[in-house]
């Protein structure tokens, strides 16, 4: 039994319980039916018994009347006395009734005592019957009463005695029946008690079994299961499993097994996920490496493009500011255009590089209040020559918003305007016109529209306007362009919280407009980098006034840049330039000749500028010499790095000649 309980499953317990309950119900039902039948029988017995006794008592009562007064004996005696056959008939009638009564009495069942009494009464009745017949004969024959009395005398005593015995017998019968019923009731009570105790015990056994099962086979294993589930740790492969609980066919064990299957599946999934995460991490690392490579590439590109630009712009500036051979006005305009174009090219290089930064999410803007009128003037002047060549007029109308300032990045917004203006020139018809209109919208935005009279943009190409490297069919035309200008423009406008859009009508022209948030009205201060010729002359004069000779060492591997520097230094009286094409030689020259200033390129073959700076700082002979970086590494991070390394100045290529002269002069004056 115990072992059967220990191996009991929920399913089997359910079946057992059902069987137990059905059994209990059947036993209860049968017991109830038996008890009800017993009670019914008892009741029947009692009612029947009572009815019989009542009937017997009624018979006895009638019998007394039929025998005694008004009955057989009484009528017989009346007949003897009065000789009226009416009494005789009544006597016979009473005899008939006595006969019927005894017959009915016997139907109810009689005891020996009763039967004995009845027999005695019947015997007396028969005696009377004989006496009646005899008396009738005698009376009909007119016998004297005394003679008749002698012949028909019958004693009443036996009948009356028997009647009393019968009455007593009925009373005794009632007592006996009452005893029997009482006994039956007692027996029934015992049966009810026994049945109740039996059913109660059965239920107790069932409840105890159920309680035992729930405690030891359900709650305890469930507790273990819950604890085991609580210990499951997906990050620890060994702890991703539940222990076996109970027997194999135990439901909770099945739950554990099913859970283990789920956990296996989960572990498999987690394993795949870990692998995927690892792959993602590798991919991320690769992407970061690629990004780093891209950054290095961009830095390298910047350097490589700036180096030749340095020569172009540098020599143009030298031509422009040469006091010995002043330029004609036409030459000045040309050099101005070279410098402007070079500077624009420089900006474009920066912007192309920054497009890459935009794509990489690395571009930043410096939002400040900028003058729209000034930006337009500068931008228009840059495209003016190009427009004049094609006889295109530029009409500017800023009447609606004079002296308006917008919140924008100065360089970016200028680039935007320049791009839109140059496009208006490039894609215009010869002899056409450009209209520039500004106005304020909703008191919050500055609206600038640039319209041309070109061929216009068909509707079917509208969506391609802001797609990169899509020139709307002008790829093979003479019009130069990269097809990224509008892409950059739109991205920049968005970064400056502005917007750009256009409308076009084929054959009539196109209008591009931008919207840029307005700045609070305030005086604008745009730092101007433009240097005047007078500034340069002043610098040159200040150096020459000292009458002392200075030596500048320039370490540069690019011959064009070296030549440019020679030309610049030549303009500075009292300053001698010595140079080296690599760092190693430069260090030797610095140690031997102890120059007053060292101009050091960073990107050098062999030892780079940073390493050379370290050597210069370590060497006692050279540690006091100010070192100025002159480099094409022009990013903000490059400049920051250079300052941190110990360069006293950081000049980026293409160099601005006045800026270079100024910083050299400052350091030489410090020496002096």
């Amino acid at each position: 039994m115990i072992s059967a309980l220990k191996t009991l499953t929920i399913n089997r317990l359910g079946k057992w319980l059902t069987s137990f309950l059905i059994l209990t119900a059947i036993i209860t039902t049968i017991t109830s039916v038996i008890l009800i039948r017993e009670i019914t029988n008892l009741n029947t017995l009692w009612v029947s018994s009572e009815r019989h006794i009542t009937q017997k008592q009624a018979y006895l009562s009638v019998l007394r009347g039929s025998i005694g007064y008004g009955g057989m004996i009484h009528n017989f005696k009346n007949y003897l006395i009065r000789r009226d056959k009416k009494y005789l008939l009544s006597a016979h009638r009473s005899v008939l009734e006595i006969k019927i009564i005894f017959s009915g009495y016997r139907v109810l069942g009689v005891s020996a005592e009763e039967e004995s009494a009845i027999s005695d009464i019947e015997s007396v009745t028969r005696e009377y019957m004989k006496a009646i017949i005899r008396a009738e004969i005698l009376i009909d024959r007119n016998y004297a009463i005394s003679q008749i009395d002698e012949q028909v005398a019958v004693s009443d005593a036996p009948a009356l005695l028997a009647l009393r015995r019968l009455t007593n017998a009925v009373a005794a019968l009632r007592q006996e029946k009452a005893k029997v019923v009482s006994g039956s009731i007692n027996s029934l009570t015992v049966t009810i008690y026994t049945a109740a105790i039996g059913i109660g015990l059965l239920l107790v056994v069932v409840i105890l079994t159920l309680a035992w099962f729930i405690r030891f086979r359900l709650i305890n294993p469930l507790g273990k299961l819950v604890t085991a589930i609580g210990r499951v740790n997906p990050s620890v492969p060994g702890q991703l499993r539940l222990p076996s609980i109970g027997r194999v066919d135990d439901e909770l064990n099945m739950v554990a097994t099913a859970t283990n299957r789920f956990l296996d599946s989960m572990e498999n999934h987690l394993s795949k996920r870990r692998n995927a995460e690892k792959a993602l991490e590798i991919a991320k690392e690769e992407a970061e490496n690629a990004n780093q490579a891209k950054s290095e590439f961009l830095s390298s590109m910047s350097h490589e493009l700036r180096t030749p630009l340095n020569a172009i712009l540098g020599f143009a500036q030298l031509m422009q500011f040469d006091p010995d051979t002043p330029l004609t006005d036409e030459q000045k305009d040309s050099t101005n255009q070279i410098i402007k174009g070079g500077n624009h090219l420089l900006e474009l290089i920066d912007q192309v590089l920054e497009l890459a930064k935009i794509e990489a999410g690395k571009m930043s803007v410096s939002i400040e209040a900028v003058s729209i009128i000034q930006l337009l003037d500068e931008s228009i002047s840059m495209v003016q020559t190009m427009a004049e060549k094609r006889n295109i007029s530029i009409n500017v109308n800023t009447d609606d918003c004079p002296n308006v300032e917008a919140m924008a990045d100065y360089t970016r917004l200028k680039q935007v305007l320049l791009n839109l203006l140059s496009n208006a020139v490039k894609y215009n018809s010869d002899g056409g016109s450009i209209s520039v209109v500004t106005k304020v919208e909703d008191d919050n935005f500055c609206y600038i529209a640039i319209s041309d009279t070109g061929p216009g943009i068909p509707d079917d190409k509208r969506d391609a306007v802001f797609q990169p490297f899509n020139r709307l069919g002008h790829e093979s035309s003479e019009i130069e362009g990269t097809g990224i200008g509008l892409v950059i423009t739109r991205k920049m406008m968005h970064m400056m919280n502005g917007n750009i859009d256009f409308k076009s009508e084929v054959g009539k022209g196109t209008t591009f407009w931008i919207e840029i948030p307005l700045a609070e009205q305030a005086s604008m201060s745009i730092p101007s980098t433009a240097q005047t010729q007078d500034d340069i002359v002043t610098i040159k004069s200040s150096i020459g006034a000292g009458k002392k000779s200075y030596t500048v060492l320039y370490v540069e591997d690019n011959p064009a840049n070296l030549m440019l520097m020679e030309k610049i230094i030549e303009r500075m009286s009292g300053v001698n330039l010595i140079s080296s094409h690599n760092a190693e030689l430069g260090l030797e020259m610095a140690e031997e000749q102890k120059p007053d200033i060292i101009l050091l390129d960073i990107n050098l073959p062999g030892m780079d500028g940073y390493e050379a700076l370290e050597h210069l700082k370590i060497n006692e002979k050279t540690s006091s010499i100010p070192v100025i970086a002159v480099t094409a590494q022009a990013t903000k991070s490059d400049i920051k790095k250079g300052r941190h390394a110990g360069f006293v100045g950081y000049i980026t290529k293409p160099i601005q000649v006045p800026e270079l002269i100024k910083i050299i002069e400052e350091n030489l004056n410090t020496k002096a």
Binding site: T18, I22, A25, I26, T29, I30, S32, V33, I36, R37, T40, N43, T44, V47, S48, Q55, A58, Y59, V62, G65, S66, K85, K86, L88, L89, H92, R93, V95, L96, E97, K99, I100, I101, S103, G104, R106, V107, M129, I132, I133, E136, I137, D140
Partner: protein, 208 residues
């Protein structure tokens, strides 16, 4: 499970309902068989002859009346017998001009009214006996009233013994039928004016 419980419940109810109900048999059964009834009707038929004898002086007719044989009947039940007994009583009452007591009276009726009442109207030999006994008393009473000469009435109350098997309701029916036929003959006689009426008897009584 619910279905099972329902089945058990219905089963229980069925078992309880099937338990024996209290017997409520109130039929009048005094333990009398057709045999004593038969004996009673033998005496009644004797009384009918005597009845004719006290009302007619036609000895041949009375002899014929006495020689009338009972008819044979089959498959008669106590209820058929009782119906015929009541018919007999009606005829007797008409014959004696209402001298005999109420046609529906029975023996013991006034003494055991509750005991003799039958709720289901079932007819037993005992009930037939009660009615027949009253018929015997009534007709003997008529005889007593009609007879001028003393007549021994105890003769009509003697018990008769039978030969052979116990009597059946059909046997009793035959005797009752015989009594009815005899009464019909008497009634015919009465109609023909050959029977001494009660009025005549009363005049005779007064004359004496």
């Amino acid at each position: 499970m619910n279905k099972l419980l329902k089945t058990i419940f219905i089963f229980t109810l069925s078992v309880i309902a099937a338990s024996p109900a209290l017997s409520d048999d109130n039929a009048v059964d005094l333990g009398l068989t057709p045999s004593p009834v038969y004996s009673l009707w033998q005496n009644i038929n004797k009384a009918v002859i005597a009845y004719a004898g006290v009302r007619s002086s036609d000895k041949d007719w009375i002899k014929e009346l006495g020689n009338m044989p009972p008819n044979k009947f089959h498959d008669k039940a106590p209820v058929d017998v009782l119906e015929l007994v009541d018919g007999f009583r009606t005829k007797l009452s008409k014959l004696d001009d209402g001298v005999s007591s109420n046609t529906s009276d029975t023996l013991l009726e006034d003494k055991l009214p509750n005991l003799l009442s039958s709720e289901d109207n079932s007819v037993t030999p005992s009930l037939v006996y009660l009615h027949s006994g009253q018929v015997l008393v009534n007709i003997v009473n008529d005889i007593l009233q009609a007879s001028i000469e003393p007549i021994e009435i105890s003769y009509f109350f003697q018990e008769n013994s039978f030969i052979g098997a116990a009597k059946t309701p059909s046997d009793v029916f035959g005797l009752v039928d015989l009594g009815v036929r005899r009464l019909e003959e008497i009634a015919i006689k009465k109609k023909s004016g050959q029977l001494i009426t009660n009025q005549l008897l009363k005049r005779r009584e007064k004359a004496q």
